[in-house]
Symmetry: C3
Subunit: 309 residues, 3 copies
């Protein structure tokens, strides 16, 4: 039997296919339960701590919502300026302290590997909500949940991942999950933002068909699903590099007309200009449904980690 009790959630590659199936099944159960019941008290008395060392709205509020929808409480570090970090405290000391208060910790931090470091310091389970250009496994799980709801099984799908393959942690985590399925992947990015070779070679070793390209139209027109991402200014140390690539890949209504009729568009959000707002009313534009799915998937993770599912 699958159990995530007391486990950290750090990396897309940590999950077996069975575990992924179990998480998404529980997420689906919670989705139904929320429609039927006015409240759920499964995690009553439990406390989630959110430690966001980087700006975030979506992910922090998604976790805080998920925890409260299960009847649990939340404590939140708030801005770094108002915290012990400003007094010179190390990440390890902060995490050790917070783990004396909370039952589970969600952390976002600008440095790759920081979530793992936090997990080692913590006496309670730690969930990685983004560590720099590293990983973002809960986003990947909700992406997969959305793909399943929108299309059915990912098996056999042609999927374009578009934007920043180099620093984009959501795509780094997502391809780990997709590697369990026979998908065809188009990795569409400027040459300077290609997927790290270590990741692509690993995907190929697992038997996936992977095409790296700068030609969005060529890839998209063959795809069943497009996963757009924002090219994140904050990931660049050299801003002139950013200026060169921003606004390179854009989807609008015109573009859509040249694609498969039932194509699904996803985006982890926030978007800037990669997807024109005129696309929002297209039936396959699933990115706000994707946001909502995040609640169910995070409810599943919290409940399972705390041993209640």
């Amino acid at each position: 039997m699958v159990s995530l009790k007391d486990k950290d959630i750090l990396h897309g590659n940590q999950f077996s296919k069975k575990e992924i199936d179990a998480i998404l099944r529980v997420a689906s159960e919670f989705e139904k339960e929320l429609k039927q019941k006015s409240s759920i008290s499964l995690l009553k008395g439990k406390i989630l701590a959110t430690l966001f060392f980087e700006p975030s709205t979506r992910t922090r509020l998604s976790f805080e919502t998920a925890m409260q929808r299960l009847g649990g409480g939340v404590i939140s570090l708030g801005s770094v300026e108002g915290s012990s970090v400003a007094k010179g405290e190390t990440l390890i000391d902060t995490v050790r302290t917070i783990s004396q208060y909370a039952d589970v910790i969600v952390i976002r931090h600008p440095r790759i590997g920081s979530a793992k470091e936090a997990a080692e310091a913590s006496s309670v389970p730690v969930i990685n909500a983004g560590d720099g250009a590293g990983q973002h496994p809960t986003q990947a799980l909700l992406d997969l949940y959305t793909i399943r709801k929108e299309v059915g099984t990912p098996k056999g799908l042609a999927i374009s991942l578009v934007g920043d393959m180099k620093y984009g942690r959501t795509v780094h985590a997502l391809v780990e999950l997709l590697s369990h399925y026979q998908v065809r992947l188009f990795l569409v990015s400027p040459d300077s933002l290609k997927m790290p070779e270590e990741i692509t070679s690993n995907l190929k070793a697992k038997g996936l068909e992977v095409v790296e390209t700068e030609d969005l139209m060529g890839a998209a027109s063959q795809s069943d699903l497009i996963y757009m991402t924002r090219i994140q200014k904050e990931r660049f140390s050299d801003l002139s590099e950013y200026e060169k690539v921003k606004g390179r890949f854009i989807i609008n209504r015109d573009f859509l007309t040249q694609l498969k009729k039932k194509i699904i568009i996803l985006h982890p959000l926030p978007r800037v200009d990669e997807i024109h707002p005129e696309v929002d009313t297209y039936p396959g534009a699933a990115y706000f449904r994707q946001v909502r799915n995040g609640i169910f998937v995070r409810m599943a993770l919290l409940a399972m980690i705390l041993g209640k599912r």
Copy 2:
């Protein structure tokens, strides 16, 4: 029968007299209930999101208190710096996202009309907690609730509204509610901060007696109630204009001696120097009772919007 289920609260002019009566009656019931019961679970399982794009203590905490006093949970955007907005997300995308999480949204934003825009983007009800120099309808409702508690019906009262009639959103909203009653209004402001003509002509069209004046003493000495407001520095693009008018209208103990004996003093707070602290112990100084009333009125609105009253 009056129902606010699933309705947005955007503007003082949206309420019929019947609706106002219903809201204030429910507020009064909650005020009593809070005294009798140790807790209320009416909104258990529901979540309120507070999106404050402008500094606020009072209003945000008032809503968060109201929601929790009803057993509900709260998620809060936090400072704009730490949010998706800093990543270039539009207000519409932020609201569409948050409406996937919460059951009701409270928004404050520096731009007139932003709350309406948010309501159109949102899939859940939106409450306007101040949109620039526009409206602040929940403040107006708690002001009216306070007037009723302190004086009885507003009918026939002479009321001085003092300070910034031009940018003051609380007075803009309050006069809409008072327009349902036969009150006499003195609008006391510097000439540069007069009430927009569109609002005063509308009040007169509804049969109210409206006097615009710069003479505070003249107006106050004829009034049963004075509603002071702070002249808000943050509303001025030209600070020299602000310097000219600040500190123009001030109430102190001396001033009070020249007014009707039972005069009631209100203020939406925070105050700077418009009301001297020596006034606080005067029995008719009702502004901190007014703060408290905000809880009951917002409990009423939340419960009614969520279909529980």
Copy 3:
């Protein structure tokens, strides 16, 4: 019978020995209860407001955790920039407002005496969570709770308090509590950061043996317990004074070997470099257990103040 119902918690010297015993007994009961029960609903329907006018992680989150572990709700002022204070509101007005919302207020403020001022303005009980270089009584209570758990009674112990005796509010509060016991105190600090004479003379008047010294090794080698503190940069108006004294007293593994075998090390945290991380695995390094004890002690205070114990 001891009762703290409706009382403010402002100063270490306000407690009788009986009251201290009662608080720590209740804390101990809650510690056990948390292990046995999945949730406690003692303060359901009650609201705690946290007003932190100075950076803090530990203390704010500790109180917010304590309140939620008892089933209560929390409202939080957030950063000062986003508050009415930025609009020019006085502390007194802010507190009077918040006391209309919450059932109990926790305040931290950079000015000595501010908590007392807040308590006078508030209509609900106020807990001082640090007022500048003044007091921090709840920290002192959790320190004492930790001493008791680690060593048993403080009676007869030799205790070194190390670091900033002048501005260090946690030691100011702690010595007040220790003055109820026959302890020997070594106050180890640079000459420029000595304990205020008023406090030491008071301790001596109560019959305690007090030694002031700059010799950490001399004091520590005679001690059963060392209470380290960070020399807080933010307390100095003259930074060159800070540069002179920082890094003066440091504990590492080497140092430990020269002390009593069962010596206990405490620290209110956050630390910077006063205690080397290599000390953390030493069995007597109790500072993270101390963090945890803060929850139980604050649960006790909240429950007692709100009349539920």
